[in-house]
Amino acid sequence: MAVKQKNEFVQLGGILCAITLVVSLCLGAVNAITVDPIAVQNKLKTENALAQVMEADSEEIEVPEGTTVTTDSGTSVEIFSAYKMTKDGQDAGYCVEVGPTGFGGAVDTMVGISTDGKITGISVISAASETPGLGARSTEEEFQAQFKDQPADGTVAVEKDGGSIVALTGATITSRAVSEGVNAAVKFAAEQG
């Protein structure tokens, strides 16, 4: 009886192990095919966003994973990546990709900051975890255009909080998150000198 039971365990385990092995091999194959196209897609997205917020040459600055900046209002915002911008050999400022927490997760946003202390523009790269039709509308041009030429001193805020950004209808949380993201980007850029 004991032997039979042991055999059954070996048999069950063996079959499950074999299935898992085959599935893993297939996954490995698919990953090998898709890893390059995915990297290209992600790079393309970042480059588009950079071009949108500032017309200048970019040089990526090393940002350790999990770096966060706490804004003056006490919100902690993750910094995804940062770029030092130069135009015609002149220092043009910084572009910082931030991930402030919105309604459903990080709102991936690129922020351009010029050397004369202004926001040159923002681009919401992905608001996939925000509510479609509400917070997800933060990817629209009309909303983003408001941030252009805002002062880069950490005071960007929605109207409800005493600022000048008109929040998206029904999506104050997302609008607030993007504003805080901009402030965090400014602070991070200031720390870079």
């Binding site: 299935i19 599935v23 996954l27 698919v30 990953n31 995915i38 459903g104 992905s126 996939a128 509400l134």
Partner: protein, 196 residues
């Protein structure tokens, strides 16, 4: 059972979402726009067909005692593959469905059909079952998303056509999902009763 009859069962009389009442979580979550509804429906259909075929192939090998673990491993494998393929080749769809693709793993339609059908029938029958049940799910998602997008955002097809500009936002929020689902199920039951 002929394909036509199976199709009718999948779409109407035995519709997975509206009659069997399985897979309701993705139905409520993804139907905020028609594009999302169709994307989710077709992705789930692809996974369902693949998993049904493989599980039917392996039905004599998979021991009864570990069948659920084996099914989930196979389904999760297919879902991850589709997720990677979408990210690589259809990034726009991947961006809007991003969060929901991993949810297909726990979509009860897929595990439900594996357990109730594919593990007891031939490969051919299981493939047909995957197609019709997948289409039934897609059909339900399209119905839901048309109603919700029209009333909640005032558009059809992701802003391509704007019908009116003062939409009832609640319809694309979770509450609207429940309202729409309830109404559609009620209409479906009424029609099915009439058809009997």
């Amino acid at each position: 059972m002929s394909f036509g009859k199976s199709l009718k069962a999948g779409l109407f009389t035995d519709n997975p979402t509206l009659v069997q009442m399985i897979g309701l979580c993705p139905t409520l979550a993804t139907t905020t726009s028609i594009v999302n509804g169709i994307g989710m429906g077709l992705s789930a259909t692809a996974v369902l067909i693949c998993s049904n075929i493989v599980i039917a192939l392996l039905r004599k090998i998979i021991p009864n005692k570990v069948r659920i673990a084996a099914f989930i491993t196979i389904i999760a494998g297919f879902v991850t593959m589709i997720d990677l393929l979408l990210q690589a080749f259809i990034p726009s769809l991947s961006a809007s469905l991003g969060l929901y693709i991993p949810l297909i793993v726990v979509n009860c339609i897929i595990l439900g059909r594996a357990e109730a059908f594919a593990s007891k029938n031939t490969v051919g029958q299981s493939a047909v079952d995957g197609i019709v049940m997948g289409l039934g799910f897609t059909f339900a998602l399209i119905l839901m998303s048309i109603v919700r997008e029209l009333l909640g955002a005032g558009t059809i097809g992701g802003g391509a056509v704007t019908i009116f500009s003062q939409p009832a936002t609640i319809m694309i929020l979770p509450a609207g999902g429940f309202l729409t689902l309830g109404c559609i199920i009620a209409v479906m039951q009424k029609l099915l009763k009439k058809g009997e």
